[in-house]
Each structure stands twice: as C-alpha cells, then as structure tokens.
C-alpha cells in the first residue's frame, strides 16, 4: 500500500533495462493525478459508496461536473450587454441583481450578487483575499491568477500597480474601489460601455465584454 502523497519517482539506483539511457527525450512532466491526498482518497471512497448503494449514479456525477465546467463568462457578458442597451434593466440590475439575472433565465443560487458599476469617476476591482470566492455561475471557473497568493494579497494593497501589470492604467482622478469578497456576496463588475459602440446589437456588444473586464482588471474591449 502506497502512503498518500508518496511520490512514485524513478529516482532509484537499482539496475534494470527499460530504456533509461537510450534517448535524449525531455524530462517527463509529472502527472498531477498520481498521488492521492487524504481528501482525494476520501472523495473517491464516499463517491464509490454512494454509487454502490444506489443513491447516485456515476452518470449523474459526470453530468454535474460537465454542467460546472460549462459555465462561462458568456453569461456575465449577456447581462452586461443587456444593461448597456436597456437603461431600465440596468437600474433593476443595480438595485436587485438576483432578480435581474433571473429575468435573463440565469439562476443565481444561494449567494447574493452585487453589481458594481464602473463610471468616469470610479473603477471597481474584485478580489477574495481569504480564498477564491468568485461568481462562477456568471463567470465560469476563476482564472488561476485570481486564486494566486500574489493577486489576493497585492490587489488589496497596491491595486493600481496590479492594474498596471494587467495593462490597465487608471487616472489619479478616478477612485479605485477594491471589493474584498469575504463572505456571502458575489461581485460582478459592470464595465463602462466603450466609445464607438452606438447602434451595435446586444450580441455584438456582448463580444466586447471579457471575463477580466467583469473582474475589474481590464476595461471592456474597444470595437473593431
């Protein structure tokens, strides 16, 4: 029985012939699924028991993972583009975000959504310094950098430097407002509508709304 976390490397000194010295192939990238941590082992054990006892099926587990992975920033972009083109909807979205996203057929779940409007005088930026809280149902899975210790600590301490590293320069006359997502709210930035987009269709506008613009590390894309 291999102990959890024990690496199974080929670092041993005994002699055997399976081609170690033959080629100059680059070193293999370690597999990420070859060591079982305590919690991975527990998840497998619980899942197999639930399936064995007929409480859930393997296909349901697979389907739930597929549904989780299918969530994407396209949902958030649809909300933003609709708010850009319909001022009454934008007012409802800012006043009662959960009800407003339901209008578009998006189910917000247990968390309360807070929509943060970027304006000519305020630029909003979202971070979760404690872990990686993120509005997955409107933005999909968070990018790796959002979960990194560097982003989580620096976004709150030196947000303007972090924004500059993302290529986003914010004038000193604009307030940078950081939102630390520490508890039961989830945050969606409503970026400013780019200039030169008058008359564009909602679907075309949604293409300008990137994931990063809804976290607040960037602006919406310029048209063209």
């Amino acid at each position: 029985m291999t102990a959890p976390n024990e690496p199974r490397t080929h670092d041993h000194a005994h002699e055997h012939d399976h081609g170690h010295d033959r080629g100059t192939h680059p070193p293999a990238r370690p597999d990420t699924d070859d060591s079982l941590t305590y919690y991975k082992t527990m998840e497998i054990a619980v899942r197999e028991l639930l399936i064995e006892k007929g409480i859930i099926t393997a296909d349901e587990v697979r389907g739930a993972i597929e549904a989780m992975d299918a969530r994407s920033p396209a949902q958030g972009a649809r909300i933003v583009a609709h708010a850009w083109t319909d001022p009454a909807y934008k007012a409802r979205l800012l006043a009662d975000p959960n009800a407003a996203v339901r209008e578009l057929g998006i189910e917000p779940g247990a968390y309360k959504l807070v929509v943060l409007e970027n304006t000519a005088t305020i630029h909003n930026l979202v971070v979760c310094t404690l872990c990686s809280c993120y509005p997955r149902y409107v933005l999909g899975l968070p990018p790796d950098w959002y979960k990194s210790r560097a982003y989580r600590s620096r976004a709150v301490r030196e947000p303007r430097t972090v924004l500059r590293e993302f290529g986003t320069e914010i004038s000193d006359s604009v307030e940078v407002r950081v939102h630390d997502s520490t508890a039961d709210m989830r945050y969606l930035v409503l970026p400013e509508r780019p200039a030169g987009t008058e008359g564009m269709s909602e679907a075309k506008l949604a293409e300008l709304v990137t994931r990063d613009s809804m976290i607040g590390v960037a602006r919406a894309r310029a048209p063209g």
């Binding site: 309360k112 807070v114 310094t129 404690l130 709150v156 301490r157 030196e158 947000p159 303007r160 430097t161 000193d172 006359s173 307030e175 940078v176 407002r177 950081v178 939102h179 630390d180 997502s181 520490t182 508890a183 039961d184 709210m185």
Partner: protein, 102 residues
C-alpha cells in the same frame, strides 16, 4: 425551538471600528482590517455565522452582514494611490463596534 437572529445595530453611513481580536478557527474578517475604522456601506442581510457553520454547528444566532468601506490611505500607511481610493469588505456584526463620531 430556534435561536432568534441578531438584530442589526448599524445603518448605512454609520461609523464603525473592526474589533482587534485574534480568535482561532474559521474567521471571515481579514487580518489586515482588524482595528481599522470605516463606514457602513450597506446591510447585506442576515447570515449564519461562518465561525460556527465551519464546525458543522447551526451558525446561530445568525448575524447581520455589512459591507464596510475603508480609506486605503488609512488601512496602509504606505499606500501610494490617491487619498480617494477605498476598499469595501464584508464584515459580520459581531466583529464591529461603534466608531468614533466624525
């Protein structure tokens, strides 16, 4: 039988101070903001206390949750942005005490 929720003590615009406490366990109040003064931005609702929920207890009494706004220049003595920059943080009521009058 159920434990009644804790009632809200603060309203938007009230000045508050975050308790400087060092409690063990699952704390949702970031270390960097403890002891700092801010202003209530809004009451978000009343939620189970995460410090209790994390240990599979009922999380009662449920606590009002606020968004509190702080001046970055007061949070970080060496903050390099303009004095108008702010940070909003969700903080549960039992971490807040009334702040000094403005």
């Amino acid at each position: 039988m159920s434990t009644p929720d804790a009632g809200p003590r603060f309203r938007a615009g009230d000045r508050v101070r975050v308790r400087f406490a060092d409690a063990p366990g699952h704390i949702r109040t970031p270390w960097y903001i403890r002891g700092h003064a801010g202003v209530i931005e809004r009451l978000c609702g009343t939620y189970g206390n995460p410090e209790e929920l994390a240990f599979n207890r009922p999380g009662t009494p449920r606590q009002p949750l606020y968004r509190v706004r702080f001046k970055q220049s007061q949070v970080w003595p060496d903050y390099r942005g303009p004095a108008t920059d702010t940070v909003d943080i969700e903080i549960f009521q039992h971490w807040l005490e009334p702040g000094d009058a403005a």
